[in-house]
Amino acid sequence: MNADIIVVGGGVVGTALAYGFARQGLSVLVLDGEDGDMRAARANFGLVWVQGKGAKAPAYHDLTRQSANLWPTFLQELEGCVETRIDYARPGGLFYCLSDHEYEARDALNKRMHNQAEYADTRMVDRRELERMMPAVTFGSEVVGASYCLADGHANPLQLLAALQQAITALGSKLLFRSTVGSIRPEKTGFTVHATSGSFRAPKVVVAAGLATPLLTEPLGFTIPLRSERGQLLVTERLAPILPYPASGLRQTADGTVMIGATKEEATDRGVTVASATKLALRATRIIPALSAARLVRQWSGFRVMPPDGSPIYAQSERYPGLFAAACHSGVTLAAAHAAIVAPAMIAGRLSRDLAAFSNGRFDVQKCA
């Protein structure tokens, strides 16, 4: 055996799980793909976000909230492990409303979610209160107010990924880049994983390969349904601090750049379009007109990893126990939960008990009926 457990995928989901396994004392081998592969871990917006998540899926909302609450400790332990810094702040987050209709709809959503569970940390703030919270900007005339959630924050996702990758090595486990996995073969005991860099054996395998996950699991009769959704993002030059609160689709990083995102598109190529740049820039300047003076330095596309119902999938194959899959949107927000909750549950065989709501069996209509 080459390791106690092999993780296929060195993105933010795979590395967070691997980090969780390594912290439990397991020897982990992470097999990552090619440098040019599509990576939500590198393309994402960087929010650690609670409000509005899982509006129709209480278990997802609870896991999101747990993860957001675990984030400060997760970060502290991770930074201690690799002696690197990850920009992170949790001042609470905003969802801007540009009409009375948007304001009322958001208020109704918050109330609906409050009814599901007792969380009193999201409230509506009107324009006057927003102006007090953000004295460095003048809001556009359409800004009515915002929804403000104390549990929200943001982080630098690139620093997070780098730190997780380093931490795996620091804990004595191994990460191999440019090791695309072609197939997983069940053996009498454990599995053989065939990668471009060689073949590796372990008693347990976790597939966390983003949108490529079904390609590896489907041949083994292990169905992980996923949909790809393109999102385009913009980033400006570095500006003096003007946005003390991250918002859905608009945040200023610790380095000063302003990120503007993100579209939802059906396209499958990794191109960018003028139409999307215009749409994103227009909404951002309707919120803060002065942003029209800022220069854009980059525009890019990323692909969301979307389970059919939006909630994460954490599953173990019934036919081949020891074969797991993890796939979700929001790998940054959920990173702390992946390390502290999901990874330990996988090792202890408690996945179906502790995280039953996230099994892939929920998509099996016959079984549910």
């Binding site: 460095a136 003048t138 030059e237 570095r238 500006l239 003096a240 000063g256 003076a293 330095v297």
Partner: protein, 99 residues
């Protein structure tokens, strides 16, 4: 510091520009970044680390030549040809946008 290859004793420069308020000779076809390389203490400070930076790649990639050109901050100096009387100022921190 660098010296222009076009500089000849007794031959006047093509134009004068202002670098941090100081009259500075410049030649047709050169960029703001190339002028900045000839002027002592005209570098910018990184808004992240605060360290001193000078124009580097000369092809629009590294953003080390950001300067305030005719009042517009964060201008990539290597992409802007000089014009007579141009006002070039060193950018010492992040750009500020008006309220």
């Amino acid at each position: 510091m660098f010296k222009s290859v076009l500089e000849r004793p007794g031959v006047p420069p093509d134009m004068m520009v202002l670098v941090n308020g100081v009259e500075t000779p410049a030649w047709d076809g050169e960029t703001v970044a190339s002028v900045l390389l000839r002027v002592p203490d005209a570098g910018r400070r990184s808004p992240i680390s605060g360290t001193l930076r000078l124009p580097y790649c000369q092809m629009g990639v590294c953003f080390e030549c950001l300067a305030i050109v005719d009042g517009i901050a964060s201008t990539q100096g290597c992409l802007v040809p000089v014009q007579p009387g141009m006002r070039i100022e060193s950018q010492r921190g992040p750009r500020e946008i008006s309220r």
